[in-house]
Amino acid sequence: MEDKEILIVPIFIILPIALFFLSFLIGRYPVSPYEVICTLLSPIFPNLAVSQTVTTIVFQIRLPRIIAALLVGACLAMAGAVFQGIFKNPLASSDLLGVSNGAGFGAALGILMSGSGFIIQLFAFIFGIISVSITYLISQAYKAGGILVSILSGVAVSAFFNALISSIKFVADPMEKLPEIIFWLMGTLANVTHDKLIMVIIPMFIGFVILFVLRWHVNLLAMGDEEAQSLGLNPSRLRLIIIVAGTLLTSAAVSITGIIGWIGLVVPHMVRMVVGPDNRILIPASLSFGASFLLLIDNISRALIAIEIPIGILTAIIGVPLFLYLLRKGYFQWA
């Protein structure tokens, strides 16, 4: 295990950093690697600046989008990994637990009511927490049903909030608010600005730190509540803290890019195949690979076609076959 770690850890550190720099090269306006490096260094060394156009493209257009892809991918994958652990459920993720749709409803409500970034994020968080609580309470009420019941209760809660989202669309002003809500719900990285990023960076950072610090204890919760308690933990309290942190990540992601599905489910499984189930490595590795994976998909979407495809569509198109492949490999030992 130790030898393997020595090989694996640098890969998970280098991958997102390498992708970060490579991603500046992708887009309609050609920019060379040399120009990217010079421009990125130009705030510190002003004489390196290439041209005003390149500076604008690098800093105003590509940088916020690249950072958003990294952050949102990291949030969704990390939240998915911890939810799978603490719910003892390999099929858990923000989407399947209803958190994404709950947060999506909150954010849509925020757009409808005010449009201020803070309100959107606050509502996304509140309704994210409400939805995961309902899912969890239902699965507790039918304890004997196990994983199947918690999946079904997540599906039910998702459907419920989906209906609420539809009702928001129905009442939204069709000229202004409706297109905004619809486009945003599809999940898109196109509208990310520096201001939006600054809004979410603190809640994301808090979520990352909490989950990173508690990552070993996720292993203990994955053994079941009774065993976790007999090992000296307070399982309900610990789980609550982790749920709040995971929901903070999901709702922060949802509030800037809308609902991007499948990352939270598929990425932790792909990572688990490489590093194993120990959350001490799995959680940071999911963070790194989730960031890289979403950035990669976004790059593909920008490189392939001239028009902007909402990334939520692409993650589903790529995520569903991947999920089915993992299912076929018998990777989910949950039956």
């Binding site: 009774e226 000296g232 001490r280």
Partner: protein, 268 residues
Amino acid sequence: MNVLDVKNISFSYDKEKIFDDISFSVEKGDVISILGSNGTGKTTLIKCINGLHKIDSGDIFIRGQNIQSLSFREISKFIGYIPQNHDATFPFKVLDVVIMGRAPYLSVNNLPKEKDTKIALSSLKTLGIEHLKDKEYTNLSGGERQLVFLARVLTQQPDMLILDEPTSHLDFGNQVKLLEILDELAKKGLSVVMSSHFPDHTFLSSNKVAVMKEGSFIDFGKPEDVVTEENLKKLYDIDVKLIDIEDGRKMCVPLKSNLKLDYEFFSR
């Protein structure tokens, strides 16, 4: 001072009495088996003395301290617990499972360190299963997996082990091996409380036996005094013959009860 004192405890679940007015004490090095038929409340009793369920009345003292004044963490330094069933989800490595036994000594923002790994490895060595450390615990045989959980509770460095039917998933040979291991651990000063479905086993490993029926202890004492044909008849509602074998050990042989089915309702 006793390791554990249980005084007049009762527990109900949804107004249904599970057990009532149970008292006993555990001394250092005791191996206590609780015998009883299915559904008589052994598992619930075990969870109560471990602090997993809250008792309705009575008191439990761990080394003289009332369990109600202790946190889960403090209890877990005294008591290591192995449940009857384990529902595995993720294929953790054996060493990763065993090292979880260090949790009582690590604050919530800490990861196990090298010292903790050493303690976990020495538990594996004690039980002779060090070679399993990098295997997935979900891929082990029932006997190996039970030893892994035993290694985990040893890693907790407790004063007492509470085991819920530890032999129930083991084959004939592994049952006896596990009991011998528990006997050895007790000689080193660990106390053991376990529930069991095998009256024979009490002669192998236990110095005290509790006979539990309908939520009460109807007898408590040394195996040779308590595991009698009479008590077994009361417990299991069948006739049992006790046969003496080597050095004081006895064997419990169930006799045929001449059970008849009611064929009036039988159709095929």
